[in-house]
């Protein structure tokens, strides 16, 4: 098989597998979020945290619960890192420094998993398992809860409430993420991923030096890292590390896992609003954008326009030999299209245009298919903006799924859309106009700038992957990127929940021939177009001075 054929088989088999899993996972989540029954273990949890599971919440109460939960989570994760040396299973590691601990706490609670540290040499097993891995579950469940709340906004009529945050959180964790994670972890172990509590193993290397190899509960963390679109690796090398991702087919499985829920949620959406085809339309938008970017990254990487790749015949720098160019490119597309940020190759070493595509897919707002939940709600907000402009062109007050898009709705959608570009651009500009920001740069020229742009794009969009080349564990970057992650996560969530509340209050407008149909290819094409054009217009100046300047020279 040639490289290209292998790449195509890899992508095609992924598409088929995801297609097969789409309905079962989507329908399962539909049942989870609409069921009126509570499991015994769930009742126990509700009693423990003292909530009445059958009490519905208006959007502001929902948002308050979510923010309170996240704030407490940040405190807990921060505290455990700072006190790591006094807790057990610390592997003798010292407490994490304050700014890194703060940055890491926000990073994992916001589902970003930006790692300003090297996993195996900073965090002990206890912190990895009970602080970071727990957040991998619940931060994903929080994203799904917000998405489901927004969908309820569309589905409900004249309702003041959008669900119960605690119920959505607990069900998402226990009924969706945990069962899949258990099965997935076992499969990964079978595939060669390690799962132990072994002490670091010191080996002699070929060159005569020694190296400490840390074991640990990797498989259990690896599976949720992908499934919950988290991306925070046990090891610094992330999914490029052979203990995390040993073979081509574990690589395949990891991509499958990180795409499973975000795509599946479109089915859940269709079911909940009572029109499955609306879910398919959103799915089609996501798939179109995803395939475009997968193909483009593959093309840029396989054709390798930079000097070194042309010399060696392929852009192999920064890629694992066991995966090859195509599989690495596909992983890169998947991890930046979702808010995962796990990497099995180094995006910094990609061709300039390939690297630009990984940034561009994040700049899309991570909506194709995006993070668990965050992808769906981001895409629905883009659909609302599209509907507004398109709806005017058919001569009616725009409406989506029977809900009118009036000034309040467009205000919230616009605010949502404003947050991440502003964070990315202001953050990047601040770094480039600031001595602490510039001092951390290890590279110069457009590539050095690209690395900074990537860092802020990744943080603000809650991706978590990184171009290397920037010393980010400095107080300035930890604070700046930490703020980007926090604002990039919670401001949009509040706007989405407010939007959900405002939509839920409306009585739906019946559909007619004069209503803009939102399930046809025409609409799918429009959402794709609006998304790409808006993002391109916003980021073109920045991209021009970074990857474009590098790639076109």
């Amino acid at each position: 098989m040639t490289t290209t054929t292998a790449g195509i088989v890899f992508i095609a088999s992924l598409v088929i597998a995801l297609g097969l899993a789409y309905r079962p996972i989507g329908d399962h989540m539909y049942r989870v979020y609409t069921s009126t029954r509570h499991l015994a273990v769930e009742r126990g949890v509700y009693r423990l945290i003292g909530v009445r599971p059958d009490a519905e919440q208006p959007w502001n109460v929902y948002a308050r619960a979510l923010l309170a939960f996240s704030a407490i989570s940040i405190l807990v994760v921060y505290g455990m890192q700072r006190l790591q040396d006094r807790l057990f299973l610390s592997l003798g590691l010292p407490p994490v420094t304050d700014h890194i601990a703060w940055n890491t706490a926000i990073s994992f609670v916001t589902n970003t998993n930006w790692q300003a540290y090297s996993g195996e040499s900073t965090m002990g097993h206890l912190v990895q398992m009970s602080a970071l891995a727990v957040q991998n579950f619940v931060s994903a469940a929080v994203g799904m809860a917000v998405a489901v709340a927004l969908v309820r906004g569309f589905a409900r009529r004249r309702s003041d409430t959008i669900g119960n945050f605690w119920v959505d959180l607990v069900r998402g964790t226990l009924r969706v993420l945990l069962p899949i994670a258990v099965v997935g972890a076992l499969v990964l172990v079978a595939g060669g991923v390690i799962q132990n509590f072994a002490s670091p193993h010191v080996v002699n290397t070929l060159t005569g030096g020694t190296q400490a190899i840390t074991g640990g509960p990797v498989a259990s963390q690896e599976v949720i890292k992908e499934l919950g679109t988290n991306g925070g690796g046990f090891y610094n090398a992330n999914s490029a590390h052979p203990f995390e991702n040993p073979t081509t087919w574990t690589n395949w499985l990891e991509i499958f896992l990180l795409l499973l829920i975000p795509f599946g949620l479109t089915r859940t959406f269709g079911r909940m609003v009572g029109q499955v085809r609306q879910g398919y339309a959103i799915l089609a938008v996501m798939v179109t954008l995803a395939l475009l970017s997968v193909v483009l990254i593959n093309v840029f990487e396989l054709s390798g326009h930079a000097t070194v790749p042309q010399a060696v015949g392929a852009a192999m720098e920064g890629k694992e030999v066991r995966f090859g160019v195509a599989d690495s490119a596909t992983f890169a597309a998947a991890t930046t299209l979702t808010s995962t940020g796990a990497v099995d190759s180094f995006h910094d070493s990609f061709t300039p245009l390939g690297g630009m595509m990984t940034m561009f897919t994040m700049m899309l707002g991570e909506v194709a298919p995006g993070g668990t939940g965050s992808g769906l709600y981001g895409m629905l907000v883009l659909a609302v903006i599209t509907v507004f402009v398109a709806g005017l062109m058919v001569g009616r007050t725009p409406e989506y799924l029977g809900k009118k898009i009036g000034s309040r709705e467009i205000k919230l959608a616009s605010l949502y859309f404003l947050v991440t570009p502003v964070l990315v651009l202001v953050g990047t500009a601040a770094a480039m106009g600031n001595a602490s920001g510039l001092a951390a740069m290890l590279n110069r020229g457009p590539h050095g700038f690209s690395e900074i742009l990537y860092a802020f794009t990744s943080a603000a969009n809650n991706n978590g992957s990184a171009f290397a080349g920037v010393t980010v564990n400095t107080p300035w970057y930890d604070v700046a990127l930490g703020l980007c992650m926090a604002f990039g996560r919670f401001l949009p969530i509040v706007f989405v929940l407010a939007l959900a509340g405002s939509l839920a209050r409306q009585a739906p407008v019946p559909q007619s021939a004069g209503t803009l149909p939102t399930h046809r290819p025409q609409f799918v094409g429009m959402v794709v177009g609006v998304t790409v054009v808006l993002v391109a217009l916003t980021f073109l100046p920045a991209l021009a001075l970074g990857p474009l300047a590098e790639g076109l020279s």
């Binding site: 005017l392 007050t397 474009l548």
Partner: protein, 713 residues
């Protein structure tokens, strides 16, 4: 007393009733120029955030150009100011049209006086009055107005009947009849009584007359932003913020990039301090949605104006927008769907009687029937059977029996023969009373006609002591031509049409089927109408209706779009949110189209505005940065002459496109009733794809012209 005859405002509805456009006269542009400059005042311009930012940009580049003058900088300054002026011009032109109309209306407001009656009571024989100025009249006052006098205020006729010249407000020179009682009692201040004498009860508050409101409306004096306009403004503000951030945050990146390439000489676009102020502002102005920002308020004003041109006054812009959203149209059968009255369409004789015989009897019996139905029988007999119309006086000794609501028959007794024509039950009873026995045949005929939605009139006679039925006249509602096509269009637009009629369900159904409406409400009372509207609205639908009577008022008030006929009562005009001065119920359909056109124009120009940005980037980014990163020259796909000419071309294009689109904004984009999908496709190609391509061509063309200017290389 002022009795000046007013010149009617020039109104020329587009042929075929399709929503057409007004014309844009270059003279109008010139006349609006002073207004456009007056609008540069920041105290008013800030209401339009997009153009306000352009003005700030223009002002700051002016300062920069003074400090560091160059041909390039000054050229940019001039065109940035022109961008703001062009935007103001669009609004001024739109307002100018309204102002002209308002001036005409003001003439009708000239000081009139009225004869105020002292203690008028119905039927009073002696009348006493004093002459007072129109502003002194209060609600509830009674005034007497005679031929040649101008009615001093809005009110209802409480006594008398008169012909009134309403051309001052409707532009229609034919006089109309106004009479007490019924649905034609409302009169408008400023109109002139041509004949007879009426007593009018004033219903307006001083200074709030219909004409006052009309003036305020067409001038746009208290124009409120409509909900949709507000929403669009929010989106435009958000886009402006994004581009503001994108432009401002570019500066540190530009400084860094320039610093990385110390060998590159400073240029007018980029120096060690980053992108120069003039270029940065140019980029910002090119990116923010200036096209739609400039034209948005003009579109709204022009939308109202298009209604005024069609003699419809909308009390609020909100109502016009709601018209575009309407899901259900309630249309009165009579006058809207059918021609005024039923007409004879067939004579069906019973066995043993010829058609001609029946026709002759029917004609004879109808000669004394002055109702429209009666007249139509005579006309039909003449058309189909060649029977000459005879005057009742022609037949000697004839005793004419006129139609009354009690007998429900008309006829004639002549030479021992009695002929009657009328409601089936009445005539059959009359035949039986005279000893005749109508055959079962008659019953079948009558039922058959009823079932087909027609109205049967039975013709009977008594000659030589024998009474018999001769046959049945088939009266039929005549559906106006082209209504079916109109309703099919409505269906394609997603609008349901419901016919309202007082007829029985059978008749109603037949007419509904023939006209092609989606549904009907038979034997409708005002309460039924109101209930129907409420039911539709509960399902989330928006309802439009027309009405004229006082009993329509609750329904008019409840409907989302309530169009009151100008001939109607004051109560109806008060309740509706639009008034049709022509009193043409069919116009509701045009109103809906204008509402849709208004929204489409906004959406199309927004799309166009955003699509334009792509080309501008291709012009400006290489112009700014190709010096430091030569690879970026690949983006200069238009092969523009120099960085300066590229940036100036983009700015000039950005300004000129506003002027080019003013006529479109005033006229509205072309609208053809069709499904949402088709409309969207068409507008996407035209304004989306067109919006991407047009600036590439436009900027290149401008570049070809201006690269000869000094300072462009």
């Amino acid at each position: 007393m002022s009795t000046s005859v007013l010149e009617a405002p020039d109104r020329s509805p587009a042929p075929g009733g399709r929503v057409g456009g007004g014309l844009l006269d270059p003279k109008q542009l010139m006349a609006s120029l002073p207004g456009a400059f007056a609008k540069l005042n920041p105290a008013t311009l800030w209401r339009n955030p997009v153009m306000f930012i352009v003005e700030i940009g223009a002002a700051s580049t002016t300062v920069l150009a003074i400090l560091d003058p160059s041909v390039f900088a000054w050229a940019i300054v001039v065109w940035l100011w022109l961008t703001v002026v062009f935007a103001n011009l669009a609004e001024a032109v739109a307002e100018g049209r309204g102002k002209a109309q308002a001036a005409t209306l003001r003439a009708a407001k000239r000081d009139t006086t009225g004869r105020r009656l002292k203690s008028w009571t119905a039927g009073a024989r002696t009348l006493e009055w004093d002459v007072v100025g129109a502003p002194e009249l209060r609600q509830g006052d009674h005034v007497i107005v005679e031929a040649g006098e101008v009615i001093p205020g809005d009110g209802d006729v409480v006594e008398g009947i008169a012909s009134v010249d309403e051309s001052a407000i409707t532009g229609e020179s034919a006089p109309v009849i106004r009479e007490s009682g019924g649905d034609r009692s409302a009169v408008t201040g400023g109109t002139k009584v041509l004949s007879d004498r009426v007593i009018v009860r004033i219903t307006q508050k001083p200074g709030e007359s219909f004409i006052d409101r009309m003036i305020a409306l067409v001038e746009g004096a208290n124009r409120q932003k409509t909900p949709n306009e507000i929403a669009l403004n929010i989106l435009l503000a958000a886009l402006t913020i994004i581009f503001l951030v994108a432009t401002v945050t570019m500066q540190p990146l530009a400084i860094y990039s320039k610093g990385q390439n110390p060998g590159v000489p400073d240029s007018l676009a980029l120096d060690a301090n980053g992108v120069t102020g003039v270029v940065l502002v140019s980029l910002l102005v090119c990116l923010i949605p200036t096209t739609i920002g400039a034209l948005l308020s003009a579109i709204g004003i022009a939308g109202m104006d298009r209604l005024v041109q069609r003699n419809v006054l909308a009390m609020s812009g909100r109502a016009v927008e709601a018209a575009g959203d309407v899901n259900t149209l309630l249309l009165d059968k009579t006058g809207t769907i059918t021609l005024g009255n039923r007409q004879a369409s067939e004579f069906v004789p019973v066995e043993g009687v010829t058609g001609a015989e029946l026709a002759r009897a029917a004609q004879l019996a109808s000669l004394a029937d002055e109702t429209p139905e009666g007249r139509s029988v005579v006309v039909y007999a003449k058309q189909e059977y060649g029977l000459r119309e005879r005057e009742p006086g022609e037949l000697a000794h004839a005793e004419w029996i006129a139609f009354t609501a009690q007998t429900r028959m008309s006829g004639v007794d002549v030479d021992g023969r009695q002929v009657r024509k009328g409601a089936a039950t009445s005539v059959m009873k009359w035949v039986r009373d005279n000893g005749g026995h109508p055959t079962g045949d008659v019953g079948h005929l009558v039922d058959g006609i009823s079932a087909s939605g027609g109205t049967p009139l039975v013709v009977g006679e008594v000659t030589g002591g024998t009474a018999r039925v001769l046959g049945v006249i088939h009266l039929k509602d005549v559906v106006k031509e082209g209504m079916r096509e109109r309703f099919d269009e409505m269906r394609r637009m997603g609008i349901r049409t419901v016919m309202i009629t007082g007829d029985n369900p059978l008749t109603a159904k037949a007419i509904a089927d023939e006209a092609g409406v989606d549904d009907f409400l038979a034997e409708a009372t005002p309460e039924d109408k109101l209930a129907l509207i409420k039911k539709e609205q509960e399902g989330g639908r928006l309802v439009a209706m027309t009405g004229d009577g006082t009993n329509d008022a609750p329904a008019l008030a409840q409907a989302d779009v309530g169009v009151a006929m100008n001939t109607g009562t004051s109560a109806a005009k008060e309740a509706g949110n639009m008034v049709d001065l022509d009193s043409n119920p069919t116009k509701l359909i045009e109103i809906v189209e204008i509402g849709k056109q208004l929204l489409i124009t906004r959406g199309a120009l927004t799309t166009f505005s955003i699509a334009n940005d792509i080309a501008k980037y291709f012009a400006i980014i290489p112009a700014m940065f190709a010096a430091v990163y030569p690879g970026l020259d690949t983006l200069n796909v238009m092969r523009l002459h120099s960085p300066q000419s590229a940036i100036l071309s983009a700015v000039v294009f950005n300004a000129l496109v506003i002027v080019v689109l003013i006529p479109l904004a005033l006229r509205g984009v072309r609208y053809r009733p069709s499904s949402a999908s088709k409309l969207l496709s068409r507008n996407l190609y035209l304004y989306g794809l067109g919006g991407i391509i047009a600036p590439f061509a436009g900027i290149k063309l401008i570049d070809l012209l201006i690269h000869f200017l000094p300072g462009m290389s």
